[in-house]
Symmetry: C2
């Protein structure tokens, strides 16, 4: 058991819970009578309450973005590479908040929670939420924390969509939106991959119309397949080639249909199996739908520039060269719309081999760009005092 953590770690952290008893109206027409959000914070809120950063998580993320839950934690939070003293989101300057979104399975109200109307778990009855709904729930968390205005809302992938929605829905409540490895809407191919994932879960006989927990079961095979498909789309062809190539598990082909022959096969199976033991299938279905539905331009006749007209914050948009899930072209669409709406936007395309996963990996130029943008925000916050 290590007695100390790395010097640039936020160290030991623990989750907190905020309860909300005023019903939350959702885009789908339903409403949540009450809900809780689990969150973590790192760093210290300054006297002016002006140095708060909201981190929004992606598909399989949680509120645990940085630091360790115990001294024998094998791994830190999911974005520990970017949050901590001296890191891009520098906790010596910022008060960082990260929550688990509604519908999640890490502690916030979601399919695993009790439905007050039935006394049973929500399961498949948990209403379909959207990025807009999430942002509305996050506004209440901000109110609860006494934060009138975020210095920045920051996210990668699905997290970036939330930052973007904040800028449109609540223009007065953030200074900057940092949108990393994201897109203003999914492509048909993105939706198609999500559909395969959903079909894998739904067609698993253990899915039981989403009521698997009542049967003491879970659609693990389906969730494993869903994650395997997802995992391929997170990695670049180049990264997979460099990591696995055509390396065999054994020295020669076994010529078996069912055995894993190549390293990449056993890696994917392992990742899929591990994920399927730790994640809720109904949440996975919800999260893929949140992605599919996101399209902030839709309310403005499909005109993204129009959608962004009322935004007041500044923007940093970052894309990665080998990300084929949300390619640089998708970020460029967003940047063009922002420029068209006369917004202040910085854009960087980072040359990195890791595909979509690159937003989690501290390549030098990424860290440099991200750090320097965040340092400017830290200065603004200090000078405003």
């Amino acid at each position: 058991m290590p007695t100390t953590f790395p010097a640039d770690s936020v160290g030991l952290v623990s989750a907190q819970v905020a309860e909300f008893s005023v019903p939350l109206a959702l885009e789908c027409g339903k409403s949540l009578p009450s809900y809780q959000l689990v969150y973590e914070t790192y760093g210290t809120l300054n006297a002016g309450r002006s140095n708060a950063i909201l981190i929004c998580h992606a598909l399989s993320g949680s509120h645990h973005a940085a630091g360790y839950h115990s001294h024998d934690d094998a791994k830190p939070g999911w974005w520990d590479t970017c949050i901590g003293p001296g890191k891009p989101i520098d906790t010596r300057h910022f008060f960082v908040v990260c929550l688990n979104n509604l519908g999640g399975c890490a502690g916030s109200t979601g399919p695993l929670s009790q439905n007050p109307e039935t006394g049973r778990q929500y399961g498949p009855d948990f209403p379909v939420v959207t990025v807009k709904d999430w942002v509305n729930s996050q506004v209440r968390l901000a109110d609860f924390l006494g934060i009138q205005r975020w210095a920045a809302v920051v996210g990668g992938s699905l997290g970036g969509m939330q930052a973007l929605q904040w800028s449109i829905s609540h223009p007065d409540r953030l200074g900057h939106a940092v949108v990393i490895a994201s897109t203003p809407k999914l492509s048909a191919q993105n939706i198609a991959f999500n559909e395969v994932a959903r079909r894998a879960i739904i067609s698993d006989p253990e899915f039981h119309q989403g009521r698997y927990l009542e049967k003491n079961s879970a659609p693990r095979n389906g969730l494993m397949l869903a994650r395997m498909v997802g995992h391929i789309t997170y990695l670049s062809n180049v990264a997979m080639g460099e990591k696995f190539g055509r390396e065999l598990r054994d020295q020669a082909f076994k010529f078996g249909l069912l055995d894993a022959e190549f390293q990449v096969e056993s890696y994917l199976r392992y990742q899929g199996e591990r994920f399927s033991q730790n994640f809720d299938a109904n949440t996975y279905l919800l999260m893929t739908r949140v992605l599919d539905y996101f399209d902030p331009a839709a309310d403005f006749g499909g005109d993204l520039t129009q959608a962004l007209t009322h935004a007041k914050c500044k923007f940093l948009v970052v894309a990665f060269s080998t990300d084929w899930r949300f390619s640089p072209e998708r970020s460029e669409e967003l940047v063009s719309a922002l420029v068209g709406a006369s917004k202040c936007v910085s854009y960087a395309e980072i040359d990195a081999p890791h595909g979509h996963d690159a937003f989690l990996i501290p390549t030098q130029r990424y860290i440099d760009v991200f750090s320097s943008y965040m340092q400017r925000i830290a200065q603004e916050v200090t000078h405003a005092h």
Copy 2:
């Protein structure tokens, strides 16, 4: 019922069967005691038997490459766009042979056939075959048909791998190899997608270790998922965007987790379901393994140039700009190796939006390049007389 077929169709065709009773030794160490190959022919073999073209099929193809099986056939054979009078593989000049490969489910010996050793269907006991094995079985078909030397061996995707293997294994028995939308070996990403497909089939409870037919069942869900994943990789991002965009099935979101919301979802489900009713799952497993194993350079210390040194035929290599399954870069690897081995090779990268499927679609420049190459072969064959 149409009484006539299009003027550029080979018209009404029917399959023939060739029986082979001499055991075929396979690369996996096993052997097939006897087997049959089902095939079709179009056009007329000339007196010198010098105008024969072998067509090799891809993953889900069959011997039915062109023409119609009956007057009320809804669709012609799978490569009817390229085979027929006036088409690139012009049946006024060529005698065209296309077979269903060993392990297939369209009539040739495969998992659906009776295992003479047990009297039961092979099912999962059908030995794992390879491209080399297929080429060896095709050599016997050539002998059976009295064809000492093919004017050309032609194939797209997995079919192109067979053409390439012919040039290496049997250099004296073909004049040209036409390798379209193919690759000298799969990448880790390609293998990963195949692995997802296999896992989907194997983890379907109806798979029953491959003995589903004995249980009057079939892993249809698994096969559907496998096909859905495959289908995404056959289409380009661009093609999917143009075909489906984010169009909804209904006018507004239903906010249901299980319903198809977008056109692309219902299209994929439909394609997957239809395929799962017409294809054998054990064959699908075999075909994906054939793809994974293909690596003609492996016998030459990984040196593809060395592997191609003994080839004697000429080569046409064709790739498509938006094919991300087997991208132009993969064809360029092959072309570089051929140039390095001092072979005569023509290469065309065709600008086409359809992704990997482009090899089945008659875009003008593709048809022009393919036709003009094949016309040169037709002239050689005529002059040789």
